[in-house]
Amino acid sequence: MGVADAYRNSVENQWCPGCPNFGILAAVKKSLAELDLAPHQVCLVSGIGQAAKLPHYLQANVYNGLHGRAIPAAIGIHVANPELKILVTSGDGDLYGEGGNHLLHAFRRNPDLTVIVHDNRVYALTKGQASPTTPRGEQTRLQFGGVEIDPAQMLATAIVSGCTFVARGYAGDIDGLSKILVRAIQHRGLALVDVIQPCITWGNHPVDWYRGRIVPLPQDHDPTHRDRAIAAALDVADVFPVGVLYETAPRPTFAESYRTRVGAGPLARLPRINRGEVEARLAAFIVNRD
């Protein structure tokens, strides 16, 4: 088991002092250490937003792409180098708003990724507009009269869409979160972890408000029971059940059949196709060769 310090780098952190994002960062490091993954075995993929800056703040490979596009980029990376452990870390706006379609279809593809959503219920980097998870009625720096539409239900959507690992975590509980993350990273296929992450700058509630509402899933929660999992996923009016909501047997992961054909390892290491084989195909365009 490694130590979380091995992932420390010297990049200046741009988050607000005291932001629960630091808790997520700590939990990520802790879980990687626990799993004894060396930095070069890990690739962190993100979009744009406050959350999406996370990959810069630890030692690992980093792909910090465009707002909303972490998922397809991560899928490409996953196919091209299946040896990497890939974590997507981005915001609720990024993954559920701009990138919603990619997540929806990622559930279908089931690539071996851990998707960590920093769910602060706000667009923080752009200074406080509603995110897809902002509850109806809450005021923001754009929805001055209160949000007038219902929040997205991406955990429940994941469950009905065939995602086999769906969890909710809390940024304020580094140990608890890192335990969930260890399971998520170990899970074969796409694992979705929505992390309640109060924004202390733009959020409508102080951290305390959340702390009181974070409750562990009931002891007897059966993570293989779809309806109960959905109920726990939807049930966020004034309480946030935390833990692994849903976990079933892994489904085939993305690109498995291609991989059995071409073999393991990075695509860049595969030999180039035999020149003669292509030339033969070009020759086959000649009509009626004798």
């Binding site: 030692q59 690992a60 490979n61 792409g65 980029a73 490409g76 180098n81 291609y258 292509v278 070009l282």
Partner: protein
């Protein structure tokens, strides 16, 4: 044989393409080159569609709009297309037509489907009966067609093959009988052999040869054939994924590229629009990528199954901010091989996105080529050696030529940081405006300057003594070269400059003397504007086509100053 244009017309789903293909293969196997274009509507059944063959002694890979022979599978097709029939042309159709409709030409009625039923045993063989009739009308010996039919239908069993052949023979005989004295002399066999294919069929092969391992795309005419080829031939080893949308497609490809795989995507203008943000990303993150942009007429959905050259300036400028890219516009299936290999090489060496700008005409037209070959040398990927990197690896290290040594994720213990923000050499977000921002802008621009020095000059066709130089780009080469020949034949000193590397344009001189005219498949003269902006060239004339059909020599000639 003299240059002949044969048009097979019918409704979508009626077998126009099958007939055309069988006839094309028959001529090719008899030693004659064929150029074939397709014209169809954006629907699955009904409407009008045609397959046009141009057959001659020498390859003339350029479209002809007129027809010497029209095979119309039904009355609507006849009505729709018979205006294209030349004065002495021949009309073949299942129903007889009054004399006036076929003007000076001949009209031959052959009841294809009845013959098929009678001789093949089913109306299913109507198309073979029609092919047989066409064969007779063109002077092709029946055994040639017979062999091709046998080959074509062999997969479906001997009986099906034989029935087709019988139906074809019936059509052949019936047409010969009806033609009587007008039937052409039998065409002698030749030993010539040609490769017969489209640019979109050679490009996937070239991509695989260039080391492409990853392709993601979303279906869109006329680009869909590219991903389909990879999927159909898993032996090529290219992972091919249909994405949920074009945005996902290009981001998947960029992710794969950052993880070391040579990667590509393909789309048309509407899908490319959705990739524009990622084109800018590729510029910023310096991630190699090849994008096929197969043009069709716009704006918006436009004419999905037709051709155009309307996306040139768009391909060049689509993306916010400033970063180098290359745009290559191949002219035929062989050139498409070379440009595809080159696209991967340029993308990799300069760490930039490269657009391969094709169009529906290139996608769907089969050229007869003397040979198809891979470039003698296929450059290896330009990845850095992790061993050679001391201490900390910096993905965006500032170098003299602007190109930083590239490692991929997981290649070694070196960590790779790829970032879409303005970044420092290590790839981390920077707000250093005093120096780092400008240094990174200049780094990227320097790559563009060096790229520019490598771009190919246009090919020249008889420009030495030309008084009028036609300038073209991309898929119009065959038509323009034909114009040069036609004009020269009537005493006009015409030459041509043809561009297949359209961005960035290299340093070019346009000697004074000749008039310069730009010929292109759009209404606003995009390449003419580009030449003016980049080279200060004032062109005297512009010929544009924008009705959805490919430029052909006759259309161009009509616009020339002496016409």
């Amino acid at each position: 044989m003299q240059d002949r244009s044969v048009l097979v017309a019918g409704a979508a789903g009626e077998g126009v393409q099958t007939i055309g293909d069988v006839i094309a293969r028959s001529f090719l196997s008899h030693g004659y080159p064929v150029f074939a274009t397709q014209d169809y509507e954006s629907r699955i059944r009904g409407g009008h569609s045609s397959y046009r063959l141009r057959i001659g002694d020498e390859p003339r890979n350029a479209p002809r709009a007129d027809a010497d022979v029209l095979l119309a599978l039904n009355a609507e097709a006849r009505e729709h297309y018979q205006g294209l029939l030349n004065p002495n042309g021949l009309l073949l159709s299942p129903d007889s037509v009054d004399a006036s409709a076929a003007a000076d030409g001949a009209s031959v009625a052959v009841a294809f489907s009845n013959l098929a039923l009678e001789h093949g045993g089913s109306k299913l063989y109507t198309n073979s009966a029609a092919a047989g009739a066409l064969c007779a009308a063109l002077g092709l010996p029946f055994p040639v067609l017979q062999a091709i039919l046998a080959e074509t239908f062999s997969k479906r069993g001997a009986e099906v093959a034989e029935s087709n052949v019988r139906a074809a023979k019936a059509g052949f005989d019936a047409a010969r009988a009806t033609l009587g004295a007008r039937r052409p002399a039998e065409l002698p066999a030749r030993v010539n052999r040609y490769a017969f294919t489209t640019a979109h069929e050679t490009m996937p092969l070239a991509a695989a040869a260039a080391g492409c391992r990853f392709m993601a795309a979303y279906p869109m005419s006329p680009s869909t054939g590219i991903i389909t080829a990879f999927a159909r031939h898993p032996e090529l080893g290219v992972f091919a994924e249909q994405a949920e949308d074009e945005i996902a497609a290009i981001h998947m490809a960029l992710g794969a590229s950052a993880a070391g795989a040579r990667a590509m995507t393909a789309t048309s203008g509407g899908g490319f629009a959705l990739m524009v943000e990622a084109m800018s990303l590729a510029g910023m993150t310096e991630t190699p990528l090849v994008v096929v942009l197969a043009q069709r007429p716009g704006p918006a959905t436009g004419l999905p199954s037709r051709t155009a050259q309307e996306d040139l300036l768009y391909a060049i400028h689509a993306g916010h901010g400033e970063a180098p890219r290359a745009v290559l516009a191949p002219s035929d299936p062989q050139d498409a091989i070379e440009k595809t290999v080159r696209a991967f090489d340029l993308a990799d060496r300069f760490q930039i996105p490269v657009v391969l700008l094709t169009d529906q005409f290139l996608a769907d037209s089969s050229f007869s080529m003397d040979a198809l070959s891979l470039p003698s040398e296929i450059p290896a990927p330009h990845l850095a050696d992790p061993e050679a990197i001391e201490s900390v690896y910096r993905r965006y290290a500032l170098t003299e030529d602007g190109v930083s040594p590239r490692l991929f994720f997981g290649q070694s213990r070196h960590l790779v940081c790829v970032d879409s923000d303005e970044h420092d050499e290590g790839g981390h977000i920077t707000e250093d405006l005093d120096w780092m921002r400008s240094a990174m802008v200049e780094k990227r621009l320097e790559k563009g300057r060096r790229l520019r020095n490598e771009m190919a000059a246009p090919s020249r066709n008889r420009t030495e003594d030309a008084e009028l130089v036609l300038i073209g780009w991309g898929s119009t080469k065959g038509a323009i070269d034909e114009v040069v020949d036609l004009a020269r034949a009537t005493g006009h000193k015409v030459g041509a400059l043809h561009f297949t590397e359209v961005w960035p344009l290299p340093e070019l001189a346009f000697p004074e003397g000749p008039q310069y005219w730009v010929v292109e498949g759009n209404a606003t003269g995009q390449f003419a504007r580009l030449l003016r902006a980049e080279c200060g060239l004032e062109t005297e004339g512009r010929i544009g086509r924008y009705d959805g059909l490919p430029l052909d020599a006759a259309t161009i000639v009509k616009e020339l100053p002496w016409a």
